[in-house]
Symmetry: C2
């Protein structure tokens, strides 16, 4: 464990030192030395260094050093920059330079850049592209953000089924540079319909004169261009492929999605779920620190207001019991315990079910299984916690056994209720088409708060004869 | 959106129908028909169908149908089964069959299977393997679960730098079937140290007589065999590679990790974080439904007890203020509102910071930025919510302005405190080496609960002169 820590630190630290060094060189206007130092790095790392340069030294210096990069490196670095920084650079360079970059970018990166640019700039760029390509670009720009179409690229290797292995390899040698991947090749019929896929591994291993039709897999997996990107990432996880073809409703191949783009999707989907589970609704892809204060407020307020209303109702329920409370004021001190434990136990169950559904381990058919499991778990957990509480109330608080009983019976009921609601509500939400992640801790706590108060006070009224 | 829903349902539904059909055929002992139907599916899907068979019809029928699969298919299907099911099958087949499966599995899958088997069975299997391989297997079995070594495979293509492209391709043609991937090839020197990597794309595109030394990249990225798997997945996300080489402390190449194994790591790491954030500590990889009730209880109780103690303390604080409360019993009804809102606002901040650190968007150097941002956000959020509350208390509850003021000033203080603690505590945890995910909602709520009670009652005492 010690070792891991040191390794991780070292990577970050080394990188930080490089960044500091380059920043210093730039401040001293030693551009040639800075450029040389910069080019010792991978394009991904250069992009991250430029981000720092932009933040610390401003856009002018960034553009000076960006322009000093070799053309092919600069295009690749550009593709790795966050969209705000891309825009800053685009605004600082000539239209001709912009056109060059756009033209040289991989198709899917180009679409990502164009999506973030102001419409008039996009129009200006598209004016200069050939009509066919412009049409294709416009089609891609119009795919909704969350669908397979927005992840795919039309740059793939397509083969004919009557080619031989040698012919296919010769074709890949010619076209391979412009393709997103050459490791999976796609076989289409005359109507552009996908009829099979063949991997480069197979092509390299098999004899030169074998026809593609003998080698291609016809039981390939594909997704529809309008499939949700979460479903696409499920496919990648399920089958472990490097690329999945995307087809339209007529089964025509319109593009491919490669696994490297899916890593981000899996992470972003998890982030979206996690944020929703904490009552933050954020529709942008911006990072925490890049987001304005008002944007943060806008993301957080709606749920807070909604939850506050439910807490107000809980408060108004308490008001109904004020007479009883003023008689046995000691009851008030157990309120946080009961409400808090209800929330905590309920949120454990809700979180496990929400995540289980998100990763495909639990589906709606499992509802009865979940109910039965949570029933038993909650009974055991409830008994243990109630027993601990009983002891504490009797020994430390030195309250009467009747009060201890009231608190502990309430606790058992509340815990069982909380775990069952926590388990069932996310499934119910999914059933009626609401995102289960919205049924997480804040929502469950609000519900269990109300139920806790009512349960506790009704039981108190009954047991203590108030 | 309609369309997506329908598509998704169709995939699941179609699959479910296939499963039902095969289960029926097996129940009627129509094994040949069941086998034919089964073989229409992808190996991943066959594995999932076998899981269902095992669950619904028991192990005997599963083994009958498993044995009827073609040998190569059965090995691949076996590799996709969950480890419990693998064990069930191993216990039902002969030692010779077990040895065959183990021998035919990809190296990394074999290690995964061996890790789950009882030690005496592993010994029996290893007895029959050659000494060299046994040593290698033992090395792999000994890598800790969470490190790069546990994800890698030693089956890769290794080339010499003085080979030509033609020689390299001929070598891949011979050895490619047994390698985990052929798409990235590794160039080693005499001391088994990694000196460069070259992609199959490059080999296929370049002329036959180009020497490898001219084509290979020497600025490759590698990880150490003991690096944490979370760091490894960061590398994959950062650079978008299909495979990353794993080296030991002497820079000798010991294996490679391929991207398909990283998809699961990203998801599992997110799941672990999500569970911890809800106060569930689960060290096993088991699915929710496969885990016993007692295992669930064991995962959930420790945090619940810890949180309950903190809630007890909150209760004991309230006890100190009982006299004051009995004078103005109306104050009690605003307690859930203040505690709940504190928890909700704090958990939003904590969640965003925890997730931001997990995906590498926020690091410890950003602490001041986070503090300043949360300070402003919490002030605005606090003012809005307090204003809404003031209106509600005056208009709906018809309480005095003094009480409304007490509640609303408390609320502003609590919200600002909650957001700052929510923002800072996860960073502090990381600084001292505790997993930030443990500083999520339950922990933040506990802290804000106590602070809410104290703030509210002290302010009430002061403002209301109690």
């Amino acid at each position: 464990m010690e070792n891991e820590k040191t390794m991780e630190k070292t990577f970050d630290e080394v990188f930080l030192e490089i960044v500091e060094e380059i920043l210093e060189l730039l401040e001293e206007k030693k551009y040639v030395a800075a450029r040389a130092k910069l080019l010792e790095n991978n394009e991904v790392d250069i992009a991250e260094i430029l981000e720092e340069v932009l933040e610390k030294l401003g856009v002018e210096k960034t553009i000076i050093i960006f322009r000093m990069l070799p053309k092919d490196v600069s295009v690749e670095v550009f593709s790795y920059l966050p969209s705000d920084d891309q825009l800053a650079i685009i605004n600082g360079i000539t239209d001709k330079e912009v056109a060059f970059i756009i033209d040289e970018l991989d198709f899917d990166d180009m679409i990502d850049v164009l999506e973030e640019l102001p419409a008039n700039l996009v129009d200006k760029i598209l004016e200069k592209t050939p009509k066919d390509e412009r049409k294709l670009i416009n089609t891609f720009l119009n795919y909704p953000d969350n669908c397979a179409g927005s992840l795919m690229t039309p740059e793939y290797i397509s083969l004919q089924k009557d080619m031989t292995v040698a012919q296919a390899l010769a074709y890949i040698k010619r076209e391979g540079m412009d393709s997103e991947t050459v490791y999976t090749c796609y076989v289409k019929d005359k109507g552009r319909r996908l009829i099979g896929i063949v991997s480069l591994r197979t092509l390299v291993i098999k004899d030169d004169d074998t026809p593609i039709s003998e080698l291609m897999h016809e039981d390939y997996v594909s997704v529809n261009v309008y499939d949700d990107r979460e479903d696409v990432s499920e496919m990648f996880k399920r089958y472990g492929y490097l690329a999945i073809p995307v087809v339209d409703r007529e089964d025509r191949l319109v593009g491919i999605i490669t696994v490297d783009d899916i890593l981000d999707v899996i992470e972003e989907e998890a982030t979206e779920d996690i944020e929703r589970m904490a009552g933050v609704i954020d529709k942008s892809d911006k990072e925490y620190l890049d987001m304005s204060v008002m944007h943060h407020v806008k993301n957080r307020l709606p749920w807070l207001v909604f939850l506050m209303i439910s807490l107000m109702i809980t408060g108004m329920i308490i008001t109904q019991f004020e007479d009883m409370l003023s008689k046995v004021i000691a009851l008030v001190s157990y309120l946080p315990l009961l409400m808090g434990t209800g929330g905590n136990t309920g949120s454990q169950a809700a979180t496990l079910i929400i995540r289980g559904m998100a990763v495909g381990e639990i589906d709606l058919r499992d509802a009865i299984g979940v109910f039965w499991k949570e029933l038993r778990i909650s009974f055991i957990v409830g008994c243990v916690l109630s027993a601990l509480n009983f002891a504490k109330i009797m020994i430390i608080d030195r309250q009467s056994a009747v009060i201890a009983c009231t608190v502990c019976v309430s606790m058992l009921v509340i815990i069982m209720f909380a775990k069952l609601v926590g388990g069932m509500l996310p499934m119910l939400a999914k059933r009626v088409g609401i995102d289960p992640a919205l049924m997480a801790t804040p929502m469950i706590s609000s519900i269990t708060d109300m139920v806790s108060v009512v349960t506790y006070f009704l039981l108190a009224t009954a047991i203590l004869n108030l």
